[in-house]
Symmetry: D2
Subunit: 349 residues, 4 copies
């Protein structure tokens, strides 16, 4: 951190600040310029960050030049992590496809969608049982019954699955069945939920908030890591901007940026960001090309009848192209497509 003092700050102001930093176990290095004095701070950033430095007399500005995360940072672990979901890895060496229905509606629709996902090359299934909905009048998901359908379907198909958990009280129930827990964009700063999913011991898929900075997203991962659980995958799913033609703006730059800040895998969600079926495949291509470690997409056997987010689900006719797209762009990126249960990844043909 760097503290910039006002031009009229006194020596007493400067000494007071240095003393406070040293009391907090840090160190301070003063650089006196012609018009202004700048003080570099060193030591435990997290602890020093708690000092109300902005409120000290004579302080003009406080600049954060170190990142406040520890456990998930690339400094803490220079080697990228691989997160195991059941027997399927997500990590920087391969590209993992996760697919399935947005919401579990019936056992039949879930089975059909998960078979579609498997046929398209998915190595992990996804599906929503507990749905966070902006309207209290909208379909809220099947809850426990949906979770059971997902579990049975995934076991039948032989793939692990990830599903969202939306409130701390449900974590135990969901963790008992699901192979991976998803924290949705709206809950990215639901800190109690972050702690509970961390303590569940399950791997966690953490979506970026609609309007979260990359720093805040990584700090949310740090909350999970702080419970001792480092099995975290970051998901870029589009941010809110002023552009009305797409539901959200997929921030592809966030993928390499987050990969340089942390050792965690970073994947993209092209279904929820674009909000339109026509955009899904182009964004899958862009996501893999920019270096994402995986992709999570919605598929639906009959999107006309979808109770949730039908317009963006891929349909049967898209599956061949999805499989080929993932394979071709993984290859162009010098990576393989991860197969289900393949700890030793196999290169796509």
């Amino acid at each position: 951190m760097v503290v910039v003092m006002r031009g009229n700050a006194s020596e007493t102001d400067i000494e007071k600040l240095i003393r406070a930093v040293r009391d907090a176990g840090g160190d301070a290095f003063v650089s006196r310029g012609r018009n202004q004095t700048v003080i570099g701070l060193a030591g435990d950033v997290a602890r020093i960050s708690e000092l109300p430095l902005h409120a000290f007399p004579g302080v003009d500005d406080v600049l954060h030049v170190n990142r406040p995360y520890k456990l998930v940072s690339a400094e803490a672990q220079p080697e990228p992590s691989t997160v195991m979901v059941g027997e399927t890895p997500i990590g920087r060496q391969g590209v993992t496809l996760i697919a399935g229905p947005c919401a579990v509606e019936t056992a039949e629709q879930t089975l059909a969608a998960c078979e579609m996902a498997r046929d398209a090359g998915a190595a992990i299934l996804r599906g929503g049982a507990y749905k966070p909905r902006t309207s209290p009048y909208a379909f809220q998901g099947l809850g426990q019954a949906g979770l059971d359908i997902l579990h049975d379907t995934a076991r039948r198909i032989g793939l692990p699955f990830v599903t969202e958990v939306i409130t701390p009280a449900d974590v135990e129930t969901v963790a008992a069945k699901a192979d991976m827990l998803q924290v949705g964009a709206r809950n990215m700063q639901n800190f109690q939920l972050l702690k509970e999913v961390g303590m569940s011991g399950r791997p966690v898929l953490l979506k970026r908030g609609l309007t979260a900075t990359i720093d805040e997203w990584v700090m949310a991962a740090e909350y999970i890591a702080h419970t001792g659980n480092l099995q975290i995958v970051l998901v870029e799913r589009g941010i809110r901007t002023y552009e009305p033609m797409t539901r959200n703006t997929l921030d592809v730059s966030a993928v390499p940026v987050a990969q340089s800040l942390t050792h965690l895998p970073v994947i993209i969600d092209p279904s929820h960001s674009g909000g339109k079926r026509d955009l899904v495949l182009p964004l899958v291509r862009a996501g893999i090309a920019v270096g994402a470690d995986g992709v999570i997409v919605d598929v639906h056997p009959n999107p006309d009848e979808a109770l949730c987010d039908g317009p963006q689900a891929l349909v049967r006719d898209d599956l061949d192209e999805l499989r080929l797209t993932v394979s071709r762009f993984a290859e162009a990126s010098g990576r393989h497509v991860v197969r289900a249960g393949a700890r030793t990844a196999v290169h796509s043909a």
Copy 2:
């Protein structure tokens, strides 16, 4: 709602859509133009909104021309609501000042801050015991102990108090002591929390999410209302924009817009939006002038030592100006300043 069909939509497409709307209890009115057909939908918007209209064949776009909220809408109750917090009203006839420390740190600091608040004319106290913090390493609030301090201090001063609740499991505990529950910006779409605070029976202060549209904010209020609790106050606290000089951008236009859409009181939070002490009083003036039904501000007896958000808290020297400012701008707006416990409001001198 209005459905715009593609130029090449067939009669079968149009009929299929109309049938689906009628099956959902709605009605559809077709307007055939030269190049395009437009279908107006009537009936229960919430129910029709659940149809995956975007995914119907031939559909180009779906436009929402009715608001999907019911219980909190101005149509449901044309007369503006007054929300009672203890004996203090918040509503469109007066201007209510809520003040207190951002976080409860010690009993002494809390008492000092609450006395400052009372002296500045506050009719409701505020203070944080459970704090949502972006970093797991930051001060997380005193929790239950802080709640007890707040409760004792408020009873001693003789004013009701509002405090934030950050997770569903804490609602019962907090509601047992606090006069009003606050849902913070990061939890605006924590739907389980919205339901729980609704069911607590306490009045609720609902902050707008950092990046929530006005529609989403009002829908979050509808979640609370859906539990049967209409004692809701909306708080505009600044939205996230690209401007780096202020922490957030106080969206003053949101005040009259939300007041026209709902019957709920709408207040502003100038402390958290500006993020700087110098901006607090100008934003208090702007908020009252634009028509806010109240203002919520941070005060601190010694902001150098604040464990949280010190830079934006008002200090003792600001209190006279705060009291005068509220009084003058309420008067210029043709409103009175609400006194504590004054069901019958008294005009400010």
Copy 3:
């Protein structure tokens, strides 16, 4: 400015950077911390800013702690400026109302609108002859003929007027007739236009770009000032955000922030930001309350027939309330309403 070096930066890297700064006439002060070295730079910020510091070996980040503007900065002239438009002042001591039609359509409509403006207390008239329009098919303004109508109308009414100029080639023509030149939001970074309006010698009304930071807006003013013309008034007119219910988001915080950074007057435009008639008066109140030095509003004798921006123009029935609003909120702010031609301002009754 502060340069933060990477942890692995060498002494040679540090020396190379210091030498470059000193060659540019600046000075550098090194602060060596445990993990990182921070270098404070002093001297001519504008000149040092041109060094490609980010590209120097070992540099991690470059932080701007001084503002790069000179002539318009509050440091350059601590006393706020008063800009004279004809005989009417705009400055921090009073509140100046500017009003008139969005676009000049006919001599009759212009006269009627300007009479409305005068009756509402306007001390300066506004009207558009050259209109920047997003569509080449939209009404582009009457150009020279519109300018003549405005000029004749203003002289007849006895008030000065401001009008927009949209391209450098028109500056001379417009400056020959108008008392003040307006640079619109879309042209805020049309640097050639900024230079030309500066050299015209006329006072300039500089609107903030739809998505300009406050820093960029003040730098645009510096471009004008750089020609020797310091008669500049800044106009906050709403910024682009994700919120769809208002055309733009009036950033009231920008008023006190810009007033603290510069000595220039800062006014607000509530008509173009809200985009709806119902929002104009609330935003006039908020703007004056937050401390704006004036307000610029659209009025129209018959907005149904307006060729441009009819929905937001105030109509005859609004005028009394406009006059009273300006007067009451100026008074609550301890300021007077500026009267036409009143160098010595008179307090509003």
Copy 4:
């Protein structure tokens, strides 16, 4: 367009609106619902759009369901355009690389950078002679001298070149030398400049404004097209968002969206959006993968000494990877890399 009437609109209101639309040569189709009446409008959208429909009595909202552009729309010309720059095509069948120095500084640096560009596979050169700079104190480009250097260098290398023109008065001079004119992001709505570059007869590279919607960007192209010049290439170069870690957010979704709305080629600029060298190659990959018709990048022989935007320029060591990247991702997309002067494109090896 669709006009939504208020619940309390009268028959007279409805008739008045219909009459106005018919007077403007359009047609109106009324759909009366239970609570609201919706009126679909047909005919010349551009002309009807000029009616102040929002201001008509009884009107609640006006929804634009047709796009207002004509000449550049995909409806006007379903076959995608190919724009010729000298002998080099830009269009949907290939991927065209444009590269060169951000700014022309000296003849030597320009030659070195352009040779680097050619070696990396560029089929068109780029370079800045007239630079729009936010600060009046920053390097403003060499102007005419820079243009001459660029012209001589490009002729020597044997490739066409594109350069920016920043004000209408310079268009003739620049068009006399350059093979293609660039309109920068800050000038996207400098309508006079759009007209002048259109009338120059040269092909035009039109950058998206920092905060322009896709609709506004395409409307800016329509301004150029309106002069009779359809040789327009759209450039997505990143939009302004709240995220501070990247200079701008490259909106890759805008590429397929703009390609579906218009027949114009759409390319991406990864240098200016990311603002960091490390992001350039990942964004080149993402841009080609999402379907861009080309890429424009900055290269510099010695970025430490760059007078402008050094941190983001690719250096010699990046060139092999740039060439391979373009080639591999074009191939994965089923496209070829466009060679200089190759009207008949040749597949990359």
